[in-house]
């Protein structure tokens, strides 16, 4: 509580100077400190994101000796709020790069950082109040669904039957599914079934087993996630129906990208939603402190179709994801 009050008082003093574009108050020879707060590696995508964050920080430190980074990973919302407060209080950060665990509870702590005159970059999950961050870097869930849908539309005949696996019920998942449905509208493709696989291999495996006993003919599967695609593939292999249908996952897991590269007919393409978007956020934030490049605004990373031709640029064999 005391710390919060301290922050606000400090903010009043510097607020006038810090409004609009916060110019790096960096005297010659002084290092700029960039605080990075991200959720810990609880599942594949976040694991990849953590790996890319560490990898990028290592590279940026080597490239720009006058930049310093403080990385904190949090397993819960409360921990993330504490991390951010500690960064401001003890490490005197000049910028904060944050992937909020949840939008609502992180909004006021991040706003306090902004009010203290620091540069704020928000990654992937927006805050619930507009205009706090200097820079917003995120993937594009609508494009994720649309690109997948367009591939289905282009590669299936009217009357084709598909099944869909959804993620954990969230707005993010809804955006993807709605965009997918909009993209295949009017194509004559019939969605036989749509159930939640919770972005989990085991759950996707059993949901797909049930789809296979229920439907005699399935032409394609939109697994909507690479972890789920792996569970789906196993269920299809068990039923011996590999020749009947192809699968499109999503995100860009290295095992799936490898299959796309190797022209696996069962997984013809993948749709990107790269965990490396944290690298974009870090690189662009760093630019603000080492150059006069204007980097404020919104940076939306498109979801692209990964095919055998361009797969190599999405393949990170060292990443855990």
């Amino acid at each position: 509580m005391e710390r919060r009050t301290f922050l606000t008082t400090a903010a009043i003093g510097t607020a006038a100077a810090a409004t609009g574009l916060s110019l790096p108050a960096m005297a010659q020879g002084k290092k700029a400190v960039i605080g990075v707060s991200i959720p810990s590696a609880t599942h594949g995508f976040m694991g990849g994101l953590n790996w890319h964050a560490q990898d990028t920080i290592k590279r940026l430190k080597a490239t720009y000796p006058n930049l310093e980074f403080v990385l904190a990973t949090a397993g819960a919302v409360g921990k993330q709020v504490n991390d951010i407060e500690d960064m401001v209080a003890t490490r005197n950060i000049d910028a904060l790069v944050v992937l909020p665990f949840e939008s609502e509870p992180l909004t006021s702590p991040v706003k306090a950082v902004k009010d203290a005159g620091k540069w704020v970059t928000v990654v992937d999950r927006g805050l619930s109040q507009a205009g706090i961050e200097d820079l917003y870097v995120a993937g594009d869930n609508t494009a994720f669904g649309r690109v997948s849908g367009e591939y289905f539309k282009a590669n299936l005949k009217p009357g084709a039957k598909i099944v869909v696996l959804r993620g954990i019920p969230t707005t993010l998942d809804n955006e993807r599914v709605e965009a997918f449905q909009a993209a295949i509208a009017g194509s004559g493709i019939e969605i036989l079934d749509m159930q939640h696989g919770n972005w989990n291999r085991d759950k996707a495996f059993s949901v797909m087993q049930d789809y296979l006993s229920k439907h005699k003919k399935i032409d394609a599967v939109w697994a909507a996630d690479d972890d789920m695609a792996i569970g789906v593939m196993e269920a299809i292999a068990q039923s011996g129906r590999q020749k009947e249908m192809w699968i499109v996952g999503g995100a860009g897991m290295k095992q799936i990208i490898k299959r796309v590269m190797d022209k696996d007919t069962q997984i013809p393409v993948d749709v990107s939603y790269p965990p490396a978007l944290i690298s974009t956020a870090l690189e662009v934030t760093a630019l603000n402190f080492v150059s006069a490049t204007p980097v404020y605004g919104r940076f939306i990373i498109g979801s692209t179709l990964i095919t055998a031709e361009n797969a190599a640029q999405f393949y990170f064999p060292d990443s855990p994801f």
């Binding site: 810990s40 590696a41 609880t42 599942h43 594949g44 976040m46 694991g47 990849g48 953590n50 790996w51 959804r166 019920p169 079934d193 749509m194 159930q195 939640h196 989990n200 291999r201 085991d202 495996f205 059993s206 949901v207 087993q209 049930d210 789809y211 296979l212 006993s213 229920k214 972890d227 792996i230 569970g231 196993e234 068990q238 039923s239 095992q255 990443s319 855990p320 994801f321």
Partner: protein, 345 residues
């Protein structure tokens, strides 16, 4: 049921005090015991009515094989709960054991080569890890005298974060060649019955015998019913309690042995919420959560009910997928209400 008059009548009677009824009825499962069975039969009838593929060999195999992991764990959990304990760590433990097993097999691969000995080594490691994990839980409960809820809540977090750390936040995958050799352990079987189903059946039958016809089972009920009286009756309470956790650990290891060949991988999300499913199955089956009475065959029915609900909801398309959890919750509560109201009558 003649066992109750054999070696230690006092304790066994004590354990069954709340279900005591005339001798004729004692020979048959009581009406209350039939509650979950009735629910299972109703579910099967409903499934068959809603979808013609429900009773196909393929679907039945899928459901039973899927139930096998939770099933084996739930049988072990029945003994832990019957003796008045609880284990929240089993889901995380399964994930951790799967991770250790896969890493060990990948590490042994260069020296042992792809072959049956490597698979057997992996299985041995899984059982060993399960034994040690169960022993750890059991010692903390019995020697350090910490509440089982707290001990296993702690180890639940520890195992979960260890597997995430081992996987570097990603997924641990079994070497492709080994996987091909190991795969049939989940996908093929004997006389057309898949291995996980066979192993689950053996575990369930052995568990039923252990609970009803051995000293170990009777001691579990006696301790869960009143550990002071059990202690004064010369039952080694600590040793039996420790044994229930070790047994559960071993069964988690066994479940992992059947689980790993399915997807050949483990990650931080493996075995999520298995502990709650196992505990729910035990309670649906008629075992008392406060201990003192255990029914292994009921647990098996509880496990089948849980996997059938999931299966039917997907096969039938009855409600919005958002409501699946609601239906599951209602059926779980109903299955328990059914037996409670009858047993109090």
């Amino acid at each position: 049921m003649s066992d109750s008059t054999r070696s230690d009548p006092a304790r066994a009677d004590l354990a069954r005090a709340d279900t005591a009824r005339p001798s004729l009825a004692a020979r048959l499962p009581g009406l209350s015991a039939l509650g979950p069975l009735l629910a299972l039969i109703l579910l099967v009838a409903l499934g068959a009515y809603l979808n013609e593929n429900f009773l196909s060999a393929g679907n039945v195999t899928n459901v039973l094989a899927r139930s096998a992991f939770i099933g084996m764990i739930a049988v072990g959990m029945t003994f832990v709960i019957t003796s008045g304990g609880l284990d929240l760590s089993v889901g995380s433990m399964a994930a951790f054991i799967a991770g250790v097993m896969i890493l060990a097999m990948n590490a042994l691969l260069p020296s042992m080569g792809v072959g049956v000995p490597l698979i057997l080594a992996g299985m041995g490691i899984a059982l060993g890890a399960g034994l040690l994990a169960g022993l750890g839980n059991g010692l903390l409960v019995t020697k350090a005298r910490i509440e089982p809820f707290i001990v296993t809540l702690g180890t639940m977090g520890i195992f979960r974060s260890l597997v995430t750390w081992l996987a570097d936040g990603g997924t641990i995958s079994l070497d492709f060649g080994v996987r091909q050799l190991y795969r049939p352990v989940y996908y093929s079987g004997l006389f057309g019955i898949a291995w996980p189903i066979l192993v689950f059946a053996v575990v369930a039958i052995a568990g039923q015998i252990a609970m009803r016809h051995t000293r170990f089972g009777r001691y579990c009920e006696a301790i869960g019913s009143n550990d002071k009286v059990a202690l004064y009756s010369a039952v080694n309470v600590e040793r039996i309690r420790l044994m229930t956790y070790v047994l559960l650990g071993l069964l988690v290891g066994l479940a992992t042995i059947m689980y790993v060949p399915r997807l050949g991988s483990a990650s931080g999300s493996t075995g999520m919420l298995w502990e709650l499913e196992a505990i729910a199955a035990v309670i649906i089956g008629g075992t008392a959560l406060k201990g003192g009475y255990g029914r292994v065959w009921g647990t098996v029915i509880g496990v089948l009910i849980l996997s059938l609900i999931d299966n039917i909801l997907i096969l039938a398309d009855l409600v919005s997928p958002y409501l699946n959890g609601t239906i599951q919750g209602v059926i779980i509560v109903l299955a328990v209400v059914l037996q409670r109201s009858k047993s109090s009558a």
